[in-house]
Symmetry: C2
Subunit: 337 residues, 2 copies
């Protein structure tokens, strides 16, 4: 491995001069020296050691995507990333970071870890946090001293940068669409309502729509769970047994909605004739289902891009005060309602 000092030796100059050439501080180097050094750099295939650079400059160019792991994260037990949402988001974040010359570190953070430790460990320049909930701000995300952007997080603090989809509005238009299509007995499927997050915001939107159209809210029509064949079958069976009480379901994610539709099929419930189903996300797989999934679409790729851009503007000091962005949602009507 060629180091600066080796290059300096070969070129018969000081390390500083080499460093100046590498960092393109050309005003400090004569053209002749510069060209001689550049040639050697080229020949020796010099590659800087970014650890050394970071140690000195305190700029690592590493951005971390941190996902708090709320439940068991052994992928054998919980394939969290079954949901293509994650792949699409990660794809976008990696691309946008790389385009700007940053490196992408990715990590689930379990409840016992404190993100700030990892940040110091690696001199992380900035952090994108996905799906944080309020109480985690006092534990996992305590004392984060680098620029950070909270994605899909409802953390109830004004001084943090936050990007979310307009989840409440999304829940509202989903439910409103069901109502406008003539449904009156509308259930909802979410992950967990224990904490305020994406799921509960969409749930608020659901309740808001019911209220606006003077439909009664019934807590027995609220189902909490995670996408799986079992859960879909369970809800399918329940609705089969209480058919008179349901004519529609708002499901808070597409992957979950497809799981529900599957459960309905298994129990002979016709979608949308007997029970209409509307999802949330607008994933590609929703276009492939039978019936094709009506859903509330969010632009996941854009979300990743926004997160990176906001973070980088923080890093560059272009944006100082905290920003809160609400990304728009869009109703996509297909066949399941």
């Amino acid at each position: 491995m060629t180091s600066i000092s080796k290059i300096a030796e070969m070129a018969n100059v000081s390390k500083m001069t080499v460093s100046n050439v590498i960092n393109k501080k050309y005003s400090k180097v004569s053209k002749k020296t510069r060209e001689r050094i550049e040639k050697i750099l080229e020949e020796t295939n010099y590659t800087p050691n970014l650890f050394a650079r970071t140690l000195k400059s305190n700029e690592s160019k590493i951005i971390m995507l941190a996902i708090p792991q709320t439940m068991e994260n052994d992928p054998y037990k919980n394939k969290a990333f079954n949901n293509p949402f994650y792949g699409e988001l990660i794809n976008s974040i990696e691309y946008n970071l790389r385009k700007s010359g940053y490196f992408f570190m990715f990590r689930f953070i379990n409840g016992h870890e404190v993100l700030q430790k990892l940040i110091i460990n690696w001199n992380i320049d900035g952090v994108i946090v996905l799906g944080a909930i309020k109480h985690e701000m006092d534990t996992i995300f305590k004392d984060i001293k680098v620029p950070s952007v909270f994605l899909d997080s409802y953390i109830d603090t004004d001084d943090k940068d936050v990007i979310v989809t307009d989840d409440e509005q999304g829940g509202f238009i989903a439910t409103e669409h069901l109502i406008k299509s003539g449904r009156r007995k509308i259930g909802i499927v979410v992950s967990s309502l224990k904490d305020i997050g994406v799921a509960s915001k969409r749930y608020y939107g659901y309740k808001k729509a019911l209220k606006k159209y003077q439909l009664p809210f019934d807590s027995k029509k609220v189902f909490e769970g995670f996408p799986s064949l079992e859960f879909g079958n369970q809800i399918g069976q329940y609705i089969k047994e209480h058919k008179e009480r349901f004519d529609a379901l708002f499901v808070y994610s597409d992957i979950m909605a497809l799981s529900m539709i599957n459960g309905f099929k298994n129990h002979g419930i016709k979608v949308p004739e007997e029970v209409a189903v509307i999802g949330f996300d607008g994933l590609y797989i929703g276009e492939l289902s039978e019936p094709k999934l009506t859903t509330v679409k969010q632009d996941i790729t854009l979300k990743g891009e926004k997160a990176v851009n906001l973070l980088l503007s923080k890093l560059n000091g272009q944006s100082v005060s905290a920003e809160h962005h609400y990304l728009p949602v869009e109703l996509v009507i297909r066949e399941s309602v």
Copy 2:
């Protein structure tokens, strides 16, 4: 930020003693000193700077997942990670690395980059390469000097560690299952056959099965493309127009198979009655489709685990000679054949 020297000052000892306590080299420190230092470490919430450590020790604990980007990788144009395969794999790799105390860096590598540069940049301890093809070994993956594992890569070198699914066997049993179910006019859909890779191996298996059962091979029944609504519709239309020539399709991935089934629906082709479809991967979404997708299942989570374990065994010098692993496939019969 507390550094070792600050701690040393507070404890009235040398930096070396602090370092020994941090690294649990207890034989070199008296119990009394050790406890005093540990208390200070605790109180000051000391976190080591891993850049400094790496600079000295040359062990970064960073593992990189490198994916060569064969085509345009702007996620606005090509949502590569639409395929939940990637999410599941990344999930598993991250988990298994973290469990072993490693950090996970993730990056697409475009054709102009050389991975070895990135490795030197970051002192990467090891690399997992996903989906490399032969000629990339002379460009992108030239001169990799750290332990590396090639996943889903057919690179034709004995001295590299390789983990692949038994793709040829998978293609064979998929096609054989179609034949045994009475189909004789079997097409195949793959990504690209230009290079030897996962797609072409599955294609060889397809040809092998045709041969074994003395069915003619017809190059007009081979379709190359990428999963999208358009491609599904295109194939749907083609098969509609040449209905007499098809009664089954082996599709090299589940996400692509679902795209085909969608195209068939749009053109009124009944699956499996008119054309049977078998996929490859065994993703969750295949259980949700209509009809449920018959497929060749691979264990993606296991694949990620194997990749990490093999790489770590290389790092620890437990495994010296190159290993080639073939992961088993399994026929999962559902409804689409």
